[in-house]
Structures are given as structure tokens and as C-alpha cells.
């Protein structure tokens, strides 16, 4: 596949990087990334991945754009209120970069559909807001051997880690089970500063791009935390021995996907 003149110009700042080059840009154009959740994290991740020329981007979300989303979900505009988030996201991504094929899935992920969804993609971005979905994505990616980026944001804080099969711990190695409903506040209850999604969602896009290019070090075996009030990033090294993990360990007890009770989050 040869670049068109327009592509050479569009991706010139990538192609000039020794870590990317023409070869790397072709890898990006041939890559397939799935973003689950078109919200605070998924919006910036989707925009940077589209701009970078990730050839196929899937985006899954059942929700519609609400006015209260716009403080942080920058892929959607005021005129999109009431529109399906995946449709609004696709329109923005296509307007940014017509090279990108955007597949939309207007659904929440469940134990029934997630394996079919992730099987089509090389890398998964968890941009969901609730723990049942986060554990489901983790378990499905471990079982299907798919790499993914976990992230969470609340108030002025964010965290992320990257899972690559057989290379390091999974989310369930760190957090064994979802917290009971309402035990840990959600963004809706506790609030979140809008730019936090921009910081952490962009870092998720960065991990996906590095994974596809095969450059640098991923957040495998590490949890990165960001405290915006202290303006501090902190990297926590995760234990190397996680052989007793219930899903990715040597003798997994979780071999089927679990739909935990969904925490109320109606997008308002």
C-alpha cells in the first residue's frame, strides 16, 4: 500500500519520527482498536486515534449524548445532545480523518456480546465508568488473549494500566472483585474535572499507539496514578508473581464471563 500525497502530508509529523516512519504509519493504518465507552475517556482516546490514522476504530456505547456530558466528552457538541454517542463520535472522527473506518456498536458490553466484539480488534481501550464493565472487559481480554488499557478517573484523580497477555498482571490481579454497589463513589456522585478525561484518555491512546508500533515501554506491570491537585504522576510497580489470580493465574477459577450487577449511571 503506497501513501497518497495527502497522507504523506497528513502524517508527516509521524513519518519524520524514527520510532514511527513510513513503516510505523502503515502499521497504524492497518491497525484495529476498539474503544468501549464513548465518554470522558473514550472521547479523547477516539479523537487522537482517529487523528493518528488508526485504520479501523470500533466504538461501543448504548447511551445518548446528554448536556451534562459536554463538560468533558469533547467528541460531542451541543448540537449532538440527544443523538446516539456512537453516531456523534463517528461523525467527529470521520470529519477529522476520512482515512479511518469507524465501526459503531450501539450497545453496552455484556458477557453475551463482548467476546465477539473484541475478537475483531488488536487492542482494546476500557473507557467505561463502572466496575461490572471493567471486570467484564478484563476477564474477556484475559480469556481471549487481547491486550487492553484500563483507566479510571474521579474528582481530580486518574489511574491507568496496560494488560498484555502473558506479559504482566491483569486488573483482577490488583482488584480481586468489584466493590459492592455504591461502596465506591462514581463520577456522577463524586464529580470529575473535565480535563482529567483528556489527560488519562490521551494516555490510553498513547499506550495503544505504542503497542501497535512496538516501541517504548508500556504500562505493563505498573499502575500509573495522576493527582491533578498536587500535579503529580506516580508509578506503582505491581507484584511480579500473580500466579494465583482468579482469571489470569496458573489455575484460573474464572473461566466464564460474569455480568455483575450494574451500578446506576444514566448519563445525567
Amino acid at each position: 500500500m503506497a501513501f497518497t500525497n495527502e497522507q504523506l502530508e497528513r502524517y508527516s509529523r509521524h513519518i519524520i519520527l524514527k520510532e514511527v516512519g513510513a513503516k510505523g504509519q502503515k502499521k497504524l493504518l492497518n491497525a484495529r482498536v476498539l474503544i468501549i465507552g464513548a465518554g470522558g475517556l473514550g472521547a479523547p482516546a477516539a479523537m487522537y486515534l482517529a487523528a493518528a490514522g488508526i485504520g479501523t476504530i470500533g466504538i461501543a456505547d448504548a447511551d445518548e449524548v446528554d448536556l451534562s456530558n459536554l463538560q468533558r466528552q469533547i467528541i460531542h457538541g451541543t448540537a449532538d445532545v440527544g443523538k446516539a454517542k456512537v453516531k456523534s463520535a463517528k461523525e467527529t472522527m470521520n470529519a477529522m480523518n476520512p482515512d479511518v473506518t469507524v465501526n459503531t456498536y450501539r450497545t453496552y458490553v455484556t458477557s453475551e456480546n463482548i467476546l465477539d466484539l473484541i475478537n475483531e480488534y488488536d487492542f482494546i481501550i476500557d473507557g467505561t465508568d463502572n466496575f461490572p464493565a471493567k471486570f467484564l472487559i478484563n476477564d474477556a481480554c484475559v480469556i481471549a488473549k487481547k491486550p487492553f488499557s484500563h483507566a479510571g478517573i474521579i474528582r481530580f484523580q486518574g489511574q491507568l494500566m496496560t494488560y498484555v497477555p502473558d506479559k504482566g498482571p491483569c486488573y483482577r490481579c490488583v482488584f480481586k472483585n468489584p466493590p459492592p454497589k455504591d461502596a465506591v463513589p462514581t463520577c456522577k456522585q463524586a464529580g470529575v474535572i473535565g480535563a482529567m478525561g483528556g489527560v488519562i484518555g490521551s494516555l490510553q491512546a498513547m499506550e495503544a499507539i505504542k503497542y501497535i508500533l512496538g516501541v517504548g515501554e508500556l504500562l505493563v506491570g505498573k499502575l500509573l496514578t495522576y493527582d491533578a491537585l498536587k500535579m503529580e504522576f506516580h508509578t506503582i510497580n505491581l507484584p511480579k508473581n500473580t500466579s494465583n489470580c482468579a482469571v489470569c493465574g496458573e489455575h484460573p477459577v474464572i473461566t466464564d464471563l460474569i455480568d455483575y450487577e450494574q451500578i446506576e449511571c444514566d448519563g445525567k
Binding site: G37, N69, G152, A183, V184, L223, H234, N237, P239, C265
Partner: protein, 69 residues
């Protein structure tokens, strides 16, 4: 003795337990916090029995949701 908590060095009493450190650090919802000492997980049931040593490195890992809301 000195230990490192979340990247910050601090002086604590000799042989302090994880339980006591959680109390000192005013950690919210400690039952949902994952703790590592020197890059190893400490099980919840050992929080009261696990005594820290000089130079130990302690991390608290919190549940964080957020994103698509």
C-alpha cells in the same frame, strides 16, 4: 523508622502494622484498598498482623471508575 508511602518518605513508629498505617493515613474505605509492600500484595486478612520494617515501600491502590458517564 522511615518507610516510603505512595512515594513519600515518612517516619513511623517501629513495627507499625498495615492496619495502623491505614488509620494514620486516613484512608477512606480501607476494605476496598489494595496494599503492596515492597511490590508484593498484602492480603486484607493480614493487615492487622503484618508489621512493617525500616525502609519498606508501601503503596495504596484505589478503585477508580469514571469515564463514560
Amino acid at each position: 523508622m522511615d518507610i516510603t508511602v505512595a512515594g513519600i518518605k515518612k517516619e513511623v513508629q517501629e513495627n507499625i502494622t498495615i492496619d495502623k498505617l491505614i488509620e494514620n493515613e486516613k484512608i477512606d474505605n480501607p476494605e476496598y484498598v489494595t496494599v503492596t509492600v515492597n511490590d508484593e500484595f498484602i492480603d486484607q486478612e493480614n493487615f492487622s498482623g503484618k508489621e512493617l520494617k525500616d525502609s519498606d515501600v508501601v503503596e495504596f491502590l484505589y478503585f477508580m471508575g469514571g469515564g463514560r458517564i
